[in-house]
């Protein structure tokens, strides 16, 4: 049976095909409006009975041309766009971009700002993992997990709100550090979260880790062999779940990660269950990192780099000195001219390696802005994982990659 091609379209999908005596193949379209595809992912599945023969993920329904926009905006103007790529972990996206620009310009933020950046990045990692856990468990059938996870995520969003005024699209990091002082009471909020969260995480663990239904749905499902994980360029928990020890915070430390003591969880079997354990442990390690940052952080000191070429001048002196007022005016109206050159800066995002490649021709806009988002590369492994799996496992496989379509489509 051949389906008529839609007017104007070019694709003809053979819906049903006889491949032998009593054997038929069926093409099933899943998405883009499907609650368990985490956004607008469309997957064209070829089935034989309930077994998956072939998978073709079709993406781009949320494509906004962020890279093109980046090439037409000044360096300081692009930070808000990074929020909107992976909107559940906006501070991490800000961080990757800001570090890339700082590397291009050859500057670095003061120590205290670096510690606060790490705290916000790790809080963001926990928030992102909570969204992942809630939706992943919801897909598999544990409805209450999503309610619990979003409850704790609320506390983190409150911290973000106190810190920068926004909850979701934070636009938090700035070139050179933070231009405003840390709000009063923020440290107490973080301390309270650190105190409260381990008990809540134990709740999730109690509900899922030994749960026979959860184990039946996840263990031995979606196994990625280590060689395949490397060849597919997987990063984050997808790679570490398969037993490969690659965490950019350890392998190529940035900010102050080389001074912090934390461990990188590694899976052994490379299945959905291992990736669940890896992410759960990453949340515990993130708490350790935040604890150490609060203890090690210098109590006072500058938060913003005092530098005249690439950094916005401090607000106080802008209102007092003519030079800083002029600098401020030029920085806002014209932007700064970055050095000629190209940089690739990768950070460990909650989903894997988030890389920003900037090619600068010496003007005030990047000549080429490239976002290497982790979930775009990770999603490519879905056909490999789904080969021979059951139809009901597809939602578990999509959930385990941890995708956000804003980041996949850019």
């Amino acid at each position: 049976m051949i389906q008529e091609a839609p007017a104007g379209g070019t694709m003809q999908i053979e819906v049903e095909r006889q491949i032998g005596e009593n054997r038929r193949e069926l093409v099933l379209n899943m998405g883009p409006q499907h609650p368990s595809t985490h956004g607008v992912l469309r997957v064209v599945l070829t089935l034989e009975g309930e077994t998956i023969v072939a998978t073709d993920p079709i993406i781009g329904y949320l494509h906004r041309g962020v890279e093109k926009i980046g090439e037409n905006r000044r360096y300081s103007q692009f930070t808000p766009w990074t929020d909107r790529t992976d909107y559940v972990a906006a501070p991490l996206n800000n961080l990757g971009y800001i570090l890339a620009v700082e590397k291009l310009c050859g500057i670095a933020a003061p120590e205290r700002a670096q510690y606060w950046r790490v705290i916000m990045a790790e809080l963001s990692r926990i928030a992102s993992h909570l969204v992942w856990l809630g939706t992943h468990a919801l897909d598999i059938g544990a409805l209450s997990m999503s309610l619990y996870c979003f409850r704790e995520r609320e506390d983190i969003l409150d911290i973000f709100e106190r810190f920068c005024g926004a909850r979701l699209t934070t636009n938090m990091m700035e070139i050179g550090g933070f231009s405003r002082e840390i709000p009063e009471g923020l440290t107490d909020m973080v301390e309270a979260f650190l105190k409260k969260f381990p008990a809540h995480q134990q709740e999730y663990s109690d509900l899922l880790t030994q749960n026979p239904i959860w184990i039946a749905r996840t263990r031995g499902v979606g196994i990625i062999e280590p060689e395949a994980a490397i060849s597919y360029g997987l990063t984050g928990a997808c790679l570490r779940g398969s037993g490969i020890n690659y965490d950019i915070r350890k392998a190529q430390p940035y900010l102050v990660y080389d001074r912090l003591d934390f461990e990188v969880p590694i899976g052994t079997r490379g299945d959905v269950y291992d990736r669940y354990l890896v992410r759960m442990e990453e949340m515990r390690q993130a708490l350790r990192i935040i604890r150490q940052c609060l203890d090690q952080m210098p109590t006072d000191g500058p938060l913003m780099l005092n530098e005249s070429n690439y950094v916005i001048p401090p607000h106080a002196t802008v209102l007092r000195t003519a030079e800083d007022m002029q600098r401020h005016f030029v920085w806002v109206i014209k932007g700064f001219e970055a050095p000629k050159g190209e940089v690739y800066m990768a950070i460990e995002h909650s989903k894997g390696e988030l890389g920003y490649y900037i090619y600068s021709d010496g003007t005030n806009t990047p000549y080429r802005m490239r976002l290497r988002t982790p979930d775009f590369v990770n999603l490519q492994v879905l056909p490999y994982m789904a080969q021979g799996a059951m139809l009901a496992d597809v939602v578990a496989l999509i959930g385990t990659i941890d995708i956000v379509l804003g980041s996949v489509d850019r």
Partner: protein, 239 residues
């Protein structure tokens, strides 16, 4: 049940190849690092804070000491056209026809093992030079060495680029995206379709420099009669 912690999360892998990492050569690398001058202060009044610190994450910044460049020069000779350093990054410009062989060599040589492709993209050099128009940029990562390496290959508009899908599985979607955004054809790619744009998109390739920011066509919202608000764009010199 509540007393049981998660079973084997956090256990280090036993006898994994990746755990036996050679010691990082940062000492040598740091000695070879260029001195980055602090940005000059225009007013001459303020004190400049410490600058960005050299990391050594791309290997030594010296052609004679970088094992990948030594190996490539010995194996491929003229195909290695240029080696450039910026910040701590190492960029090797290679002959386009031999890109796949060079990647295979980098992946399989025991003391290099650039087994992972971090990123594959292109740059449209339309405003910066005449020929070739595109640069295909491949960023590789070596898990044992913990180094990155960037390969660049110039591609003319009418010239196909050899595919890397035979070397790295990750190149499949990255090359499809590259074709979608720049129109670069990867010869030998098994499934070269549009990636992010619709498959019947007929307006060309949007990341080319001659593609207007807001597209070629004017899309009018149904029922909307007023003039569409336009964001002011920063014109680029020579664009």
């Amino acid at each position: 049940m509540s007393q049981n912690p998660a079973p084997d999360a956090g256990t280090p892998p036993d006898a994994q190849e990746t755990t036996q990492l050679p010691a990082l050569d940062t000492q040598v690398a740091a000695e070879l690092a260029p001195v980055i001058e602090p940005a000059t202060d225009q007013t001459g009044v303020q004190e400049i804070n410490p600058v960005w610190v050299y990391s050594g994450y791309w290997g030594p910044l010296d052609e004679a000491q970088h094992p990948a460049i030594i190996g490539l020069r010995a194996q491929f000779g003229d195909a290695i056209e240029e080696v450039t350093f910026f910040r701590d990054e190492v960029t090797v410009r290679v002959r386009t026809e031999q890109l796949a062989e060079i990647c295979t060599f980098l992946r399989d040589t025991p003391d290099l093992k650039y087994q992972m492709v971090s990123d594959l993209t292109a740059v449209d050099m339309l405003n910066l030079r005449s020929e070739p128009r595109f640069d295909v940029v491949v960023t590789l990562y070596s898990i044992p060495r913990r180094w990155r390496l960037r390969l660049k290959a110039g591609v003319r508009e009418d010239q196909p680029c050899p595919t890397l899908t035979t070397v790295y599985a990750a190149a499949g979607w990255l090359e499809r995206e590259c074709y979608d955004m720049f129109g670069i054809v990867f010869a030998g790619h098994p499934d070269l379709r549009r990636m992010l744009l619709a498959e019947d998109w007929d307006e060309g390739h949007p990341l080319r420099k001659d593609y207007p920011m807001r597209g070629y066509k004017q899309y009018v919202q149904p029922g909307f009669t007023g003039a569409a608000p336009r964001i002011r764009e920063t014109p680029r010199e020579g664009a």
